[in-house]
Symmetry: C2
Subunit: 491 residues, 2 copies
């Protein structure tokens, strides 16, 4: 009856792919590495956008829009950036097609070759800082707090729906400041916004931290990130916020007159989260029956399903369902009454479980008689029968409970799978048998980091911001270390 | 004191460009033909998006997202479409750059040439119908009512901010239906949504109508459009809705089993409005002092400006201003209290006039004494002093009045500049001396339409849907005609 998906224990990667397809979230398009985000998946993205956008605006940011195309030469201006971003990318070389003289369709018109190639933005620091040059003269023009919602393209070789696609949707903030302190403060403020969003809306606990030098954004002095743990024990980077120093200001010659009347380079941050978050949301909470969504990001929070065989039964159920729908909608809850007669109740139950609707209300002839409703929650799959007049209150309470409990469940999972590891043997053993987060001592060198990565595929996810100083010895080199850092295998 | 812009009477085109720049709406980027939409301009777009999106969703549409890239061969599948869209476009030919062996920056890696070139979408019918093929099997899968908010690229040679840019933002709806009637009904329903949006939110009266064959969308059986009249007497197409028949279903082999169990091609519509609407909004209402915005689309509806010389005066004004702000915000009005001490009141007045804030409240020491406030409206530039306790009510009323009156003003302008013309001489004379909409008889042939266009630059904007049948003779050929059509020179 239910749409079937591979179980997590059988094949986690296949479970994920099956779920994305069967829950109608996204699919691969006929363009290599690019996905089609289907209405149900896009509705989740819209909820995410709406909440994040409110938080950005409440903290003084405005939205704007910069070009999709970046002249090739812009990338060469910032030395680290060009290495990181200008390699695997989509290159526009021509601006016209023409009819094939042989009559077989259309071909590129070689007369319409661009003087300078254009790159489809993989990220927009370069074009934005080239623009900021004209916007900033004095400290009075600062800070400049701008965000952009946009599509970007990175020509990834191995792609997976939501997690890694050639084109993806994201927001990218680009701010300009008069002082180093203010820019660092901004980068950390955004890290806090991302954490709050992950924990309070996505119901995913995250570790806030700073990246090691080799994991930094190309062109940044410091990259802050939040890391989440998925059910298979792998980490997923759920948002990054970069302190860019004066690198892009120097590259694009953006100076300003400070309060003392002196000319200085402008300080910068950039930060972003993407449709990858939908992948994180799926992998953090869902089960073998399909998607589990936190109510605050569920496009549809409640579905009402009538159980009937005869038309008269449906006629008695419908007004009750309509009344519940209206009552719930008045309090801002999104509700659907699925009165289709083309599908059986059992099919509908499975369908909404697959799609992750948090609360299901079912009403049958006996409920009409007894003035009751069956209320079921998607996360625990428990249900009970309650009096009709209690439905609005119970539903509201249940939605809050689900939001809280799936967060607590994810938190417990993370705590149960975060290990303080003191030897390299134990580190490797745990990685292979359980996965999870490893808090271990590291000597602070890129060499050790690289060796560990080569030998175990585990990387330093972050140096947690709240990790206390603790003397120890590096699990790999045995050299002294001042604090534990967070290792994991990651998406 | 005020930022100066060219007057409309002196040079309308220059006035428009000056205004877009001085009101901080947009600017040209360093990429040919692509604009940067600045925060104030983007905020207007967000208001437009928000209202349109609500209307689309209320009429049963969902949002989704399809790839930016379209394989070149897709365009060749629909014969008319390829002629219309696959010519002036951005072509991606490579997917990698590499370091120039000579050490001078980066160059295209010729080893990373795509087997098939990818076109940056100029519109998405082809990729979407290629996707719909897998989504539609039976009449039960229909209708499919999907919209996409996206960027598109058309390699225009002559560009103007908002009105015609190589990259622009838009929404494109793509629906699939089981019957011709239902698809036509959908196309007309959207035309009605666009008209309502133009008239009730943008405060711009529009003529609803159908395009002549030569002005049709490439691939459509019928193109419906709304046409607006700008202050310089030129028309601007403000939205189009296309009945595509079964053309794209045939091109991409999208069939379904109908209620009778027979296989048929799916019926289609597509429809869109773009950031061009911001150009229309500017040109319909604004004046020589800057932008005039209808309150329902103004990102900032009310600004409060303190008038003071001494700090004590400001200290008396601030709490009053804060109270007004809080009171207005409670009723959903957006308000800013501009308490900056870096700018004089006169400078602020001019700044908010330039940016089109509909209502300005000014509070000086005498107002504090008398418990009054000066309330000024941007559109008519009239002002009066009112008692403090009346401010919330007066402001709300004034915003409604402004919305209504700028619509009425635009309507009167359009009525005063719509002419029933019966001879070609009069037609040409009026076009050159006054511009405006010309209702004239046309013989229905593409030849006549083309001749008139060549000789006068006027085109048939639409055949109005509500124009009554009326026998007459074509102004150009003298042949018989059954109804008047709407001619104008257009953007």
């Amino acid at each position: 009856m239910a749409k079937e998906i591979t179980s997590r224990s059988e094949n986690y990667a296949q479970w994920y792919n099956d779920l994305v397809i069967k829950a109608d979230l996204a699919e691969n398009s006929s363009v290599r590495g690019c996905m089609v985000i289907k209405p149900h998946g896009y509705a989740i993205w819209e909820k995410m956008q709406s909440e994040l956008d409110k938080m950005f605006k409440a903290s003084g940011h405005s939205n704007a829009y910069f070009p999709l195309f970046i002249p090739k030469s812009f990338f060469s201006r910032e030395a680290a950036h060009v290495e990181g971003f200008a390699k695997e990318c989509a290159v526009v070389t021509h601006y016209r097609l023409k009819n094939d003289p042989s009559g077989k369709g259309i071909i590129v018109d070689e007369d319409a070759k661009l003087e300078e190639e254009l790159i489809i933005r993989p990220t927009s620091e370069t074009i934005i800082w080239n623009t900021y040059k004209n916007w900033i003269q004095s400290y009075r023009d600062l800070p400049l707090l701008i965000n952009q919602w946009a599509n970007v393209v990175r020509w990834e070789m191995r792609t997976r729906l939501f997690l890694r696609t050639a084109e993806f949707l994201w927001q990218e903030g680009h701010t300009a400041h008069a002082t180093r302190e203010e820019a660092v403060e901004e980068a950390l403020k955004i890290l806090e916004i991302y954490s709050t969003f992950a924990e309070q809306f996505m119901a995913i606990p995250v570790v806030r931290g700073v990246k090691s030098e080799s994991e930094r954004f190309a062109g940044a002095l410091e990259t802050y990130a939040i890391e989440a743990l998925m059910q298979d024990g792998k980490a997923l980077q759920a948002g990054t916020s970069h302190f860019l120093g004066q690198n892009f200001a120097r590259a694009f010659d953006v100076t300003f007159t400070n309060r003392e009347g002196k000319l200085d380079w402008v300080w910068a941050t950039s930060w972003g989260v993407s449709t990858r978050l939908i992948g994180a949301l799926i992998m953090a909470h869902s089960d073998d029956d399909g998607l589990i969504l936190p109510p605050r990001l569920a496009p549809l929070q409640v579905v009402i399903i009538p159980i009937y065989q005869k038309r008269e039964q449906m006629e008695a159920i419908a007004p009750i369902a309509q009344k519940i729908k209206a009552d719930l909608e008045k309090t801002g809850i999104s509700v659907k009454f699925d009165d289709r007669d083309t599908q059986k109740p059992g099919w509908k139950f499975a369908e909404y479980e697959m799609k992750g609707v948090p609360v299901r209300l079912a009403i049958g002839p006996r409920d009409v008689e007894n003035r009751t409703v069956e209320i079921a929650r998607r996360d625990t799959r428990t249900k009970k029968t309650i009096p009709l007049e209690g439905v609005p209150d119970e539903t509201r309470k249940l939605l809050d409970q689900i939001q809280e409990q799936i967060y607590q469940k994810a938190l417990k999972f993370r705590n149960d799978n975060t290990f303080r590891v003191d030897t390299y043997e134990e580190f490797k053993e745990l990685l292979d048998t359980r996965g999870g987060f490893m808090l271990a001592h590291w000597d602070g060198t890129a060499e050790t980091e690289m060796k560990i990565k080569e030998e175990t595929k585990a990387t330093i996810r972050v140096i947690p911001v709240d990790s206390p100083g603790e003397k120890g010895t590096c699990i790999y080199s045995g050299k002294p270390s001042k604090r534990r850092v967070l290792f994991a295998r990651a998406y």
